[in-house]
Amino acid sequence: MDLGFTTAAYVVAAILFILSLGGLSGQESAKRAVWYGIVGMALAVFATLIGPGSGLWFFSIILIAGGGIIGYMLASRVEMTQMPELVAGMHALVGLAAVFVGFIADFEMGNVAIAKEAGTAKDLTGFAALIAKKSAIELSILRVELFLGVFIGAVTFTGSVIAYGKLSGKVTSAATKLPGGHALNAGAAIIAALCLIWYLQSGSLLAVVIMTLMAFFIGFHLIMGIGGADMPVVVSMLNSYSGWAAAAIGFSLGNDLLIVVGALVGSSGAILSYIMCKAMNRSFVSVILGGFGGTSGPAMEVEGEQIAIDADGVAAALNDADSVIIIPGYGMAVAQAQQAVSELTKRLRGQGKEVRFAIHPVAGRLPGHMNVLLAEAKVPYDIVLEMDEINEDFPSTDIAIVIGSNDIVNPAAQDDPNSPIAGMPVLECWKSKQVFVSKRGQGTGYSGIENPLFFKENTRMFYGDAKESLNKLLALIN
């Protein structure tokens, strides 16, 4: 098949990919949209296999099928609470693949140069033939492109591996840095930049190798320095990187479909990161550099005490209430309490009460994490609302139940200008008539900030593991 057909197939595939992302604007259209993506991918792979420049197509199909089987098993076994890990792990694969593809391009350039000298350039096929046609300046640009592709791919790879480790609990989720902190990262970045100059002048493979190692280090160290609750930003940032890596590789291979898809994925991840940062009222840079910013003065004194309540008390209040808003957080995912929450919702709705969910954009460890967990537990999506949709309704709500969230319901963000989270948009659950907080103990949240909500007069603390507490509660809701 000639290049014309392949290009045509790429155009169709690109449109299908755009449609598949656009379809995610609604739950129902999304179910259709994912098929666009699948068809687009199948078309793109098929067209490449039969198109010019490919070889070993039978071997390739076996490899794809083998990978497919593993992917299928992973996808069908993964628990919804492990979703963040899975996504991070898959980013690592894309990153590593980008590194490999970049290296191959470099090898090919070497081969082509040798072939040209030997006068056998006409016999070259595939990608090598493409390179052979390039002029000197085009080759330099090619080098920059593949250098960038390898760099971003390498950062994505180690970063994603660490993110995976942190999310699955294999690596400590606390922010840890080597002595020297960000100076180390900056140093590694400078070395990588020097390698680029070296590489452009000499075309030495060693420069690429050193740069790759530096990029591996940056990815590792950067993500190690970011704490667990900032993971939504990290994961979406890595998502973005994997896209940019694909785009850079697309440039070096001269493949427009790679560029289009890379740009789509890259911008998607960038927007997600932006939304997450906005939801925490922090700049992207401050999240990436890790930790919360310094305070500008002493925090407000928290007065009062945390008053505990038992399941009987909560059940009695729930039986009397007409409207309930549930605010889930990462704690719900940790305790695997979503089924119990769903059952509670079902029973309360069965009694004719209005039950809704309020989801803060950064609840959980992945953008939209809570929505997926609740959906898995069969909570209908039309009662699961975003922060902006529901925040005004708290004053007219009888009971707000906070399950395993902390900073996203912290009134200090509004009341205390000295708080490290001042100005962060929060769910104003304390405005409802009564608040129950299901929490393991009296500790503070990720940010380490005392939460005045727990000391409010209309707040009662429902201590204990979220799942056990809710199951106790379920027995009492008739």
Binding site: M41, G68, Y72, M80, A105, N239, G250, L272, E305
Partner: protein, 523 residues
């Protein structure tokens, strides 16, 4: 240890300090419970109900006092009861320590520990044992009911076939716990309710209960209510004049006036004077909840209902809580139960009288042969300091100006961004070869399309979005596929690995997305 409740000896007192419900809870704390036969009868709790709850019934008060370690009762003990008090007893009761010097001396001499329920400090932690508040709540409610009983009209306005009925106008003076309870009851009966308090900061609470707050045209440095523990303080003579003038103005319009103004440890201020009573319409009702402290109304007779010359009924009862004995007993016994819970940190049925605890220290009036009244001020401030000033409301013009400024700033920012972007692109075009620029156009357009498309993605679908972008970012497989056939063994290995990993990603990503999306269901 054993907790016992004798029958109240005060004439007409119907409340009881232990109910079958509270006894069950006390037993959970490890105590045995005992009650004098017939103690709960007037409040509607029979001996049978008590014995079913596991409470021992004692025939006489003497037997009860002898057998128990903790005595819980309602009214301050009379002389006969004081005689029964011994050094082993802990007495929990209203005790009126400010006006009961004799009782204090006697209890201290005997060595009994006395916890006075009216001395429970007003801090959040102690709210659950604040018997004054729970009794005041009942009194406020009952005051309205009592007023209605003596008022010959409806509370609510109605238009009926038999004519129009105007709604009753009710004025509540003093918006403490009793006042707020009265406001709630009066508004829920449909009356037009006004309320006054010397502490302007309670206006918000008053309005939240559905009443209208009566403001005075008077400027004075108000004492922050927090300083006096949330209670009213004595006001200046000028303030008082302004207040009386306002009442004079309101008096002819009001059908029902309920006064609840009390200042701790002082005689109640006279706020509703003879001339105001006189200017009220015949048939109007005044309920004076301050009657036990001398009354807010000139003409109140303690414990009695009197009718003035112009037909205004003045109710001066002092036993409103006792008139709702069942409710009052269940609340009071719950207050006692919470007090016992604080006194029994280990839940082992043994009283630990911890004088370092603010609440216990505050409420204890005699301990180890000493009078411990009045207590030192509590360590915790009663009420949080005043909240900060609210930001100034903006006028529509200012808002418009702000919007215009924001729009200008946004435009400026956009133009600068576009200009720099365009310049950079142009600069790039000068040096880069055509083949690069062709791809670059595709790239820039794709980024634009990406931004436009992704902004519309619903927040709840962000996780599926990540999974699907993950799957399609394995488009990198194309690069590996193009390379796999050309060149050396090393190239084939690396390309094969890339194809393999991308294969995992494609299938894994799309499948998991489908799995997630299938879970989203509409109700």
């Amino acid at each position: 240890m054993k907790i016992g409740t004798p029958k109240e000896v005060f004439d007409g007192e119907a409340r009881v300090a232990m109910t079958p419900d509270s006894a069950v809870q006390l037993q959970k704390l490890g105590y045995d419970c005992a009650i004098e036969s017939g103690a709960g009868l007037l409040a509607g709790f029979s001996d049978k109900a008590y014995s079913e709850a596991g409470v021992e019934i004692k025939k006489t008060a003497a037997a009860l006092w002898k057998d128990v370690d903790v005595v819980a009762k309602v009214r301050e003990p009379d002389d006969g009861e004081m005689k029964r008090l011994t050094a082993d007893h802990t007495l929990i009761s209203f005790f009126n320590p400010a006006g009961n010097d004799k009782g204090l001396q006697a209890a201290a001499k005997k060595g009994a520990s006395v916890i006075s329920m009216e001395m429970v400090p007003r801090i959040s932690r102690a709210q659950k044992m604040d018997a004054l508040s729970s009794m005041a709540n009942i009194a406020g409610y009952r005051a309205v009911i009592e007023a209605g009983n003596n008022f010959g009209r409806f509370f609510t306005g109605q238009v009926t076939a038999a004519g129009k009925v105007p709604p009753a106008k009710v004025l509540i003076v003093g918006a403490g716990v009793a006042g707020l309870a009265a406001i709630g009851t009066a508004t829920s009966l449909g009356a037009i309710t006004y309320a006054f308090d010397v502490r302007p900061e309670v206006a918000e609470q008053v309005e939240s209960m559905g009443a209208e707050f009566v403001y005075l045209d008077f400027k004075e440095e108000q004492k922050d209510g927090a300083e006096t523990g949330g209670y009213a303080a004595v006001s200046s003579p000028e303030f008082r004049e302004a207040q009386l003038a306002k009442f004079r103005e309101l008096a002819p319009e009001m059908d029902i006036v309920i006064t609840t103004a009390l200042i701790p440890n002082r005689e109640a201020p006279k706020l509703w004077l003879k001339d105001m009573v006189k200017s009220m319409k015949p048939g109007s009702v005044i309920v004076d909840l301050a009657a036990p402290a001398g009354g807010n109304v000139e003409g109140t007779v303690q414990d009695e209902k009197v009718v003035s010359d112009n037909g205004v009924t003045i109710v001066g009862y002092t036993d409103f809580a006792s008139r709702m004995a069942a409710q009052a007993s269940s609340l009071y016994s719950t207050n006692i139960r919470h007090m016992m819970a604080d006194l029994t940190p280990e839940k082992d049925g043994v009283v630990v009288h911890n004088m370092d605890d603010d609440v216990i220290r505050g409420a204890t009036v005699t301990f180890k042969k000493e009078i411990t009244y009045p207590p030192p001020p509590p360590k915790v401030q009663a009420i949080a300091a005043k909240s900060q000033e609210k930001p100034k409301e903006l006028t529509p013009e200012e808002i418009r100006a702000q919007e215009a400024d924001a729009f200008k700033a946004q435009t400026k920012q956009q133009v600068i961004l576009l200009a720099t972007g365009a310049l950079l692109t142009l600069g790039l075009g000068l040096i880069a070869p055509v083949s690069f620029m062709q791809h670059f156009i595709v790239f820039v357009l794709s980024v634009f399309v990406g931004f436009q498309v992704i902004w519309n993605v619903s927040h709840s679908l962000h996780t599926p979005l990540m999974a699907v972008t993950n799957a399609i970012s394995s488009i990198i497989i194309l690069g590996a596929l193009m390379q796999i056939g050309s060149g050396s063994f090393l190239v084939i290995i690396l390309a094969a690995l890339s194809v393999f990993m991308a294969g995992i990603n494609i299938f894994g990503g799309f499948l998991v997305t489908r799995r997630m999306l299938a879970m989203f269901q509409k109700s």
